[in-house]
Symmetry: C2
Subunit: 269 residues, 2 copies
């Protein structure tokens, strides 16, 4: 993997990404030799870096390095990590920031096809997300909540965990965003106090706008979720997974989710 433009499998043990989780990342799908939605991911990277007072590497440089990384590969998962690099006295920001960039290419996910078609079984996590408006929405490297949440189950038939916040509001999946459909309307949780706002969440909102379907962002309870007509998770690696089972409730069909899934998979510009 290229680390700051040089082939390497390691980073400095003084990198603030390690010391403090002081950085951001993106995970993207490589499909037919093309990184899906790279311009949109780069825009999010810029926004997240800005929110963290972090220098974002230039688009041309990153695009060129990504091109080299995926050259000769058709499918896979591409990850970019941007950290604040080295320096600074303790937590204080370095006087001259020099971000580190770590690019890596991994094999495509090997999830069973029925996760896409029939849908998945979901665990409701005991781990609750803290409210931190200053970091909400950002895909940063402080991911202990996700790690501890994912440690709650290891039966292979549970494909995702659902995260509530400390007040009991439903927020997201451990690695995905969440939507419900109720009475012909899409609803997705408010992420202004916690959670990560992924680009597939934005794309579902675009689908809704194009198809004149209402899409609300609001506080959601678990009880309301259980009454949903359909429920689904999205992220850039998995695409869209309908929920088949959660807390003994079964969703036999997910007709609208399937339409959205098809659109997400086709519209990969």
């Amino acid at each position: 993997m290229p680390v700051n433009g040089v082939l390497s499998n390691s980073i400095s043990a003084n990198d603030r990404g390690l010391l403090y989780g002081d950085g951001v990342f993106r995970t993207m799908r490589l499909s037919q030799g093309k990184i899906q939605h790279w311009p949109r991911h780069y825009q999010k990277l810029q926004q997240d870096c800005a929110a963290m007072l972090l220098d974002c590497p230039g688009s041309n440089m990153l695009t060129a390095e990504l091109g080299q990384l995926v050259s000769g590969h058709e499918n896979g998962v591409v990850k970019i990590i941007i950290t604040r690099g080295q320096g600074g006295r303790g937590y204080a920001l370095p006087a001259n920031q020099a971000s580190s960039r770590i690019l890596s290419l991994m094999p495509p996910p090997d999830s069973p096809e029925y996760f896409r078609t029939k849908g998945i079984k979901v665990h409701v996590c005991n781990m609750r997300l803290a409210h931190q408006p200053r970091l909400a929405g950002i895909k940063h490297l402080n991911r202990l909540e996700n790690v501890l949440a994912a440690a709650e189950w290891n039966n292979a038939d549970v494909a995702e965990g659902i995260l509530l916040d400390i007040e009991g509001n439903v927020i997201e999946g451990t690695r995905s965003n969440l939507f419900m459909i109720s009475n012909g309307e899409l609803i997705t949780p408010d992420l202004s106090r916690c959670g990560v706002a992924g680009i597939q969440r934005e794309r579902v909102m675009e689908w809704a706008a194009i198809h004149s379907m209402s899409c609300k962002v609001e506080q959601l309870s678990l009880a309301k979720l259980l009454e949903a007509d359909e429920l689904f998770f999205v992220n850039s690696v998995i695409g869209l997974w309908p929920v088949h089972e959660m807390l003994s409730r079964i969703w036999a069909n997910s007709p609208v989710a399937k339409q959205i899934q098809k659109w997400l998979e086709l519209e990969v510009a």
Copy 2:
């Protein structure tokens, strides 16, 4: 610095410490060739690892590696980072965890002597700490709140920032624990929902017990703090710094804090 027992300045770019901040750390003072309070730090390391479902390296091995690290050095700052190493599918824990350990020795702090004697000027941070009981007290690698708080000031005469939580309770310094003295009583903030419980905080409580002084752990408001007879910060690197100035309030003398400071500096077993 030794990384997993081998001299190196780098770690794997796949280490979960970098990917997720999935690890814990300790910062300790080397003084007269001896790491102060190592057994106590090791005990905290074990507790923090246990709380994070993380394998803690054995005491004998770490003690031996630390001995090699500081051999021939008299004074400095020693840092230990323990991460969950590599592996796992995304956030999920690796089936076979192999922790990484990164030990480093840095020069002693060069803070002006008057921080210890006259006391320090304090910034009240706008950054508020989130409530996350599952991680509260643990010295883990998810430290973005501290980084963003420390970014709020850069005038050299401000030595520490004070952190409140999202409800406005006073919690700690950006890299230290906080005590106030009021009517002959010590009070330190409750850290059950956020903050890091350092070993110098425990030691101040021990001082109080030995000297038959009451020491309460409770919720503290900024208003109450401003009415304190004395105010001080402690950590393993700085020792004890009295507060001289905060929000235009001046504390001219800190007689009890000075007694505690002397005791902390002498009792370094």
